[in-house]
Amino acid sequence: MRAVGSSIPRFDAQDKVTGQALYPGDIHMPGQLHMKILWPDQVPARITRFDVSKALAAPGVVAVLAADDVPVNEYGLIMPDQEVLVGRVGGLVRSIIDQVALVIAESEEQAEAALDLIEIEYEPLPGVYSIEEALAPEAPLVHPEKGDSNVLLSYRIRLGDVEKAFAEADVIVERTYRTHPQEHAYLQPEAGLGFVRPDGKIEVIVGGQWMHEDREQIAHALALPEDQIVVRYPPIGGAFGGREDMSVQIVLALAAQKTGRPVKIQWSRGESIRGHHKRHAMIARAKWAAAKDGRLLAAEIDVSTDAGAYAYTSTKVLGNLTLACLGPYEIPNVKVDSRTVYTNNIAAGAFRGFGGPQGHFIAEMQMNHLAEALGMDPVELRMKNLWREGSRLATRSVLPPGVTVRETLAACARDAGWEETDAGWQRPRVEDLPAAITPVHRAFSLDAAGGRKARGIGIATSFKNVGFSLGYVDESWATVELHGAGAIERVVVHHAGADVGQGAHTVMRQFAADFIGVPLDKIELIADDTDHTLNSGSSSASRMTFMAGNAIRGAAEEALRLWREEEERPAIATYRYVPRPTTPYDPETGEADPNIAYGYCTQAAEVEVDLDTGHITVLNLWNVTDVGRAVNPAMVRGQIYGAVAQSIGWTLLEDLKYDRGQVLTDRLSTYLVPTVLDTAIHIAPDFLENPDPQGPLGARGMGEMPFIPTAPAIVAAVHDATGIWFDELPLTPERVAMRLKEVGIEDQD
């Protein structure tokens, strides 16, 4: 049996479901100290008094560390624009994400008690708490040292002549869209352990997404060579982009170095919500034009995102968003202006989709508005404009081969009841769709049949880049060892890719088994720490299957050659996979070959709207993602279910509320993530397998794609049900009900 293509059980499943797996929070060492973080309670503010002497004298306290204790007090994945610790007289607090000081004590209670003994006073400063405030003339600056504007970075794309196209167009749709932040809400809040090893190296056990990058940032802040730092990842309690930046990594290493003892930290849920970045909030104005026959003529978009107080990956997210806001369409005239701006909110950064969800909310909402304005079926309109093999992007480069967005749209539309007729694609009538509610759901009055209800159906499509973009030289290292005498008895694979819960380590074993031609049980994977692996890059950008597969293939082929031709025993080969190069945006025109490869996904949603309470029930969610090759079909479906649940949460439920930089929803009782009953009643997790020529055995990345089209598909379905467009997320019952009350609606019965 070939391993690739089989739904073999994850090798870590049993340990995880029986509670045997040890996550960072579960790992302890004898003699360990406990660390607590002093968080700021005013933002933005200048620290005018800072005295730790009482805290240092408190029972059990071993150390209190602040800004002056950090050798190089700066860090950041893209640029070092954040201090590790801000606690000092004159220190500047920009956001509640800042860490002021560390208290390290014999017990957690002693550390907690000593936090209150740190004497600190703040001078409040004027702040900016939204994109509009940040861009206003004379706005207070979040980083005054960075010049006279809060704009962190801007991009532009210019193609053709949009003004001429608008003048000649039959139909123009101009709208304003707003999307909101999202919290990752992974199961395990940040936790870890730092200690000095007998060999003198500092080891940090933590959950992350890119252990070599963690190591680099720790080494930089501690002013140590990288080889003096070891980062180890045990099982990780979810990530979704939220562990791509530093949280507890640097402070654990610092505390271990300063105290010489093992130091443990465990964040509460409230600390996790305030202490790591969020999905970017976005505001966009979009003006698109089409001819009567549905051909897109022009797209003009002005879009801004809220980066929060620090860069994190905001510039990279903006790079993706700048392309995603045009959708997977051939548009001859394009004008995009995009920017990301500092505010005094929690920093924003990586989150599943990485600008794709916001960008496609613009593009797909525009397409749905245009279909209505043209009186054309939304599938038919898309089919007239979608990318094909050989299409050019607005950045003038040709798409890499394997363009299958049309295939996903056709398959999904058919699943949802569309028909391709002589007159083109035609949407199903809602009354022809089968009833979808099962009795178990009708037991809840939230979904009960009473009251005025309306059903509707909507569709949206999307693309997502696989791998890092816009000129970044991406790489993935793997080492393969073949042990044995006559036959290969044992295979050891070294690969640093993080298994953040998506199953990457199972996928790597499957690839290795097939590339080497041995059964799975002969494969041993070493993926735990930076001492025994080389850099494999981040578990993000839907890149790990694609990159790890290619790297392991390269190492396996070379090791097999050494085994056969050189008869080496053991045969050991190391391989660095570097995908085809990409290029950054030209600053004036946006010309670029932005991405290595793409994945495609279409979704259709059928909803029921309670016209009085505003509650939306997603009856059906049909998904079709082209995964190229399903390495493990069960895990592919798991990713689809998970992405859809998370995306429905973003669309309907999750609502991070701020009051002047303070987050009001820092508990899972106030920041509501969907339970299984709140996702969709039926999710069809379908996928296609059109190979990507660059992918290992044809595989494409797929972890982010099923997040991206959900929101515009649901909004289109709500419009179908009610006749009302909601251009702002989330569709909370309050927003929907109040709008329905204001606008009024013809009873659908």
Partner: protein, 296 residues
């Protein structure tokens, strides 16, 4: 977080439990299903010095027919037992319809009816149900026992008429008047969450088709379960139609409630939901009173 240290007793008899409550007074808390108390202790919002675990006491879990045709329910009866009990489905369809709205199956497997009523969460279903049906709560202490009408039992935000040495041992749910109609509806942000707004309606028509009995009980909109007395006054003695119901619902929303704003909903949305749910529950109750089948 974990709770601060406390003493733990697991008495085998009710008398022992009552003696412990008398001995420890205000510092003692009774542990029933633990679905509210334990999280509250873990968040250190409550820090009792003594826990008196009632789970080993026999004979506090039962559902019996009362002499008046209603139900007598032991305080330690789990939600799931009421949910699945055929006597409840037969004799008290409103209680039967209420149960699936309480939390999730995991919560209903452990949570108890007595515990929920003693906790008196303003957004919980059972306290409001007890007011709707004019139920009674039996409070017992080492000093003796007494029946407290639901209308007197709930006294404010998580506050009841129970003395510090008293335990709830039994609930009495009188039968609905013969031929009356009933309904429950609630809206939460998620399935199983506490309600943003919930409503019970019970009504009965006289021979001339006029409303001679009506109870509208609301939850999630005040500091405890509350009756929509103005709305009830609008309906009493009237022939009921859509217009009368709409007037009553408007009165409930505008005059009977003064709901809070929080991160889940504004006060004005809660007022809107009161209007919607009172209208829906009255419409369903009227249909049932008129002998029509209603699928909720």
């Amino acid at each position: 977080m974990k709770p601060p240290p406390f003493d733990y007793y697991a008495p085998d008899t009710l008398d022992e439990a009552l003696a412990l409550m008398a001995q420890h007074g205000y510092g003692a808390k009774a542990l029933a299903g633990g679905q509210s108390l334990v999280p509250t202790m873990n968040f250190r919002l409550a820090a009792p010095s003594v826990l008196v675990d009632l789970n080993r006491i026999p004979d506090l879990s039962y559902i019996r027919l009362a002499p008046d045709g209603g139900l007598l329910i032991g305080a330690m009866t789990r939600h799931v037992q009421a949910e699945k009990n055929p006597k409840v489905a037969d004799k008290h369809p409103l209680l039967h319809a209420t149960m699936p709205n309480i939390g999730h199956p995991q919560i209903r497997n452990r949570g108890t009816l007595g515990g929920s009523i003693a906790h008196a969460d303003p957004a919980a279903e059972l306290p409001a149900l007890m007011r709707a049906v004019q139920g009674r709560i039996k409070a017992q202490s080492a000093r003796g026992s007494r029946w407290i009408p639901a209308d007197d039992f709930f006294q404010g935000f998580f506050t009841t008429a129970l003395a510090e040495d008293e335990l709830i041992t039994e609930l009495h749910l009188p039968p609905l008047p013969a031929g009356s109609g009933w309904a429950i509806e609630e809206v939460a942000r998620r399935h199983g969450d506490f309600a943003l707004v919930g409503a019970f309606a019970i009504l009965h028509l006289d021979g001339a088709g006029r409303c001679d009995h009506v109870r509208i009980s609301l939850f999630g909109v005040g500091d405890g379960p509350m009756l929509a007395t103005t709305a009830m006054g609008v309906l009493r003695g009237e022939k009921l139609d859509d217009e009368a119901i709409a007037t009553a619902a408007e009165a409930a929303a505008q005059k009977d409630v003064d709901p809070p704003s929080d991160v889940h909903a504004t006060a004005s949305f809660r007022r809107h939901l009161v209007n919607v749910l009172v209208q829906r529950t009255l419409t369903q109750a009227l249909a049932r009173a008129a002998g029509q089948e209603v699928t909720a």
